[in-house]
């Protein structure tokens, strides 16, 4: 039987030239917060669109001593997270964890963990559509020009039209945000709940879009402002009066589930590790 360490691939699957290219792009992305740096995006044993951007960043950054956490919509045990983790472990043999505080690198699909992050941690997002201007401009060459010239008028017109038709800004997840007063970014798509967490955070956020071949970053202590209009300020999802059916949390992002009682709806924390630890805490009375 093959020993776990006798893997037949290079450490972290990618060849070293690929890692170096991605590392150079990561550095440029950190130096120009919010700017989408083009990169080659290699073929991987998973399809584009299944987290290859985030995965390539993770594989380029991790070392033998790294402790990794992978989540999908806040859940450590969902199919996407488990499969990505399995690929990473089989080519690195590194330690993984579900404990947010213990992780050096957290790779995530569409959520930021509820627990606070530190300067020592790197948070990596899997991004399906990195171009926030795509909804208002289909041509790539034109969106690049718009970013270059900070020509974001059309985005604000879209917000205004939303208010005109629906009485409020209707963008849910992937709410656009202005980074360092310069570039508009697509926020992963994380829910609105998580967007303020990007602002002046202690840790580095890296965003990887494998299919669209872009890497961008929000460095620590960087201003990130969700787009809004003066009289229609940004607001998060409202969970007032609701609580998690498992741990009783009233201050976490909740998923709505169908239920036989309580008007056919029940709620559970989206962050599975937070929910588990919160339940244990309330059991212990701490």
């Amino acid at each position: 039987m093959m020993n776990k360490t006798d893997y037949q691939y290079n450490f972290a699957f990618l060849d070293e030239n690929t890692k170096r290219e991605i590392r150079r792009c990561i550095i440029k992305a950190v130096c120009i917060p919010g700017f989408q740096v083009p990169f080659a995006s290699r073929e991987l044993p998973i399809f584009f669109g299944w987290g290859t951007g985030g995965l390539q960043i993770t594989l380029s950054v991790i070392g033998k001593e790294t402790v990794l956490k992978v989540i999908d919509q806040g859940d450590d045990d969902s199919v996407n997270a488990v499969n990505l983790k399995r690929l990473i472990i089989s080519t690195t043999n590194i330690k993984t964890t579900e404990d947010t505080k213990e992780a050096d690198i957290i790779q995530s699909r569409h959520r930021i963990t509820e627990d606070s992050l530190t300067e020592e941690q790197i948070y990596i997002f899997q991004v399906p559509l990195p171009e926030p201007l795509r909804k208002v401009e289909p041509k790539e060459i034109e969106t690049r020009r718009m970013h270059g010239e900070k020509d974001y008028g059309k985005m604000y017109v879209k917000l205004y039209e939303d208010i005109l038709h629906h009485g409020e800004i209707t963008i849910g997840a992937d709410y656009p945000a202005l980074v360092n007063e310069r570039y508009i970014i697509a926020t992963s798509p994380i829910p609105r709940w998580d967007v303020p967490r990007l602002n002046l955070s202690e840790n580095l956020f890296l965003f990887g879009a494998g299919r669209e071949r872009k890497i961008y970053a929000v460095p620590p202590y960087t201003k990130v402002e969700p787009l809004s209009l003066e009289d229609y300020p940004f607001r998060k999802e409202d969970f007032s009066g609701k609580e998690c059916g498992i741990c009783g949390s009233r201050d976490s992002y909740l998923n709505e589930l169908p239920s036989e009682d309580d008007n056919g709806k029940s709620y559970v924390c989206s962050d599975s590790f937070y929910c588990r630890t919160n339940k244990l805490k309330s059991k212990d009375g701490t």
């Binding site: 030239n17 440029k28 700017f35």
Partner: protein, 203 residues
């Protein structure tokens, strides 16, 4: 003894360790980090730490230029031999290594990127005597603010010409166009100043 029997720079694990420090330096501008001690035989023993930086980020897809105080640059030969990076003129180089000297007015000729793609710009890597975050022995202070810095950060560069820092300010005045700066000391300390950072000189 044959050189291949000696310890070599492990491009898989050593470069990952060095990269993680480089990334930290760029993420927290002005903060001083220590490049890990790597036990390997380096032909360019003069300055092992700047060699390690080159081996970590350069390969055949990159171009570089060296501004050295010597006519026969050992560093240039070392990088060509060990990274396969292409040596180019100053205006085309992705990485510019400034060893024991200054760029001065040449800084105006280096790649600053374009508004469409500001990432197509150069990284300036300086080799210095030392970098410090205390004011001991320095004539002036470099005050930094911007992304990656909680409030303000101060750097002290002993025996480093103030006019070179004024050139940095000038070349990075039109963000997002500009260059990213890395400072490496002979003791293996590293600090970075991305173009997004506002630099002020306090005398």
């Amino acid at each position: 003894m044959n050189k291949t029997d000696d310890k070599i720079f492990d491009i898989v694990h050593d470069s990952q360790k060095v990269f993680s420090i480089i990334l930290k330096a760029f993420s927290f501008p002005g903060r001083i980090f220590k490049i890990p001690e790597i036990d390997f035989l380096c032909d360019y023993e003069l300055q092992k730490y700047i060699a390690v930086f080159g081996l970590t980020l350069l390969d055949f897809e990159t171009t570089f230029h060296v501004i050295d105080d010597s006519t026969d640059s050992l560093f240039k030969k070392y990088i060509i031999k060990n990274s396969q990076a292409e040596y180019s003129g100053l205006s085309d180089a992705d990485f510019i290594f400034v060893i024991n000297t200054y760029l001065s007015d040449s800084i105006n000729n280096i790649k600053k990127g374009s508004l469409i793609d500001p990432s197509k710009s150069a990284v300036l890597v300086y080799l210095l005597e030392n970098i410090a975050d205390t004011s001991k022995g320095s004539e002036y202070t470099v005050k930094l603010s911007g992304p990656g810095i909680k409030e303000k950060k101060y750097l002290h560069l002993n025996n480093f010409k103030e006019c070179e820092i004024k050139k940095w300010i000038s070349v990075n005045k039109e963000f997002p166009l500009g260059v990213d700066i890395v400072l490496i000391s002979k003791n293996g300390e590293i600090a970075a100043i991305p173009r997004s950072i506002k630099i002020e000189i306090n005398t």
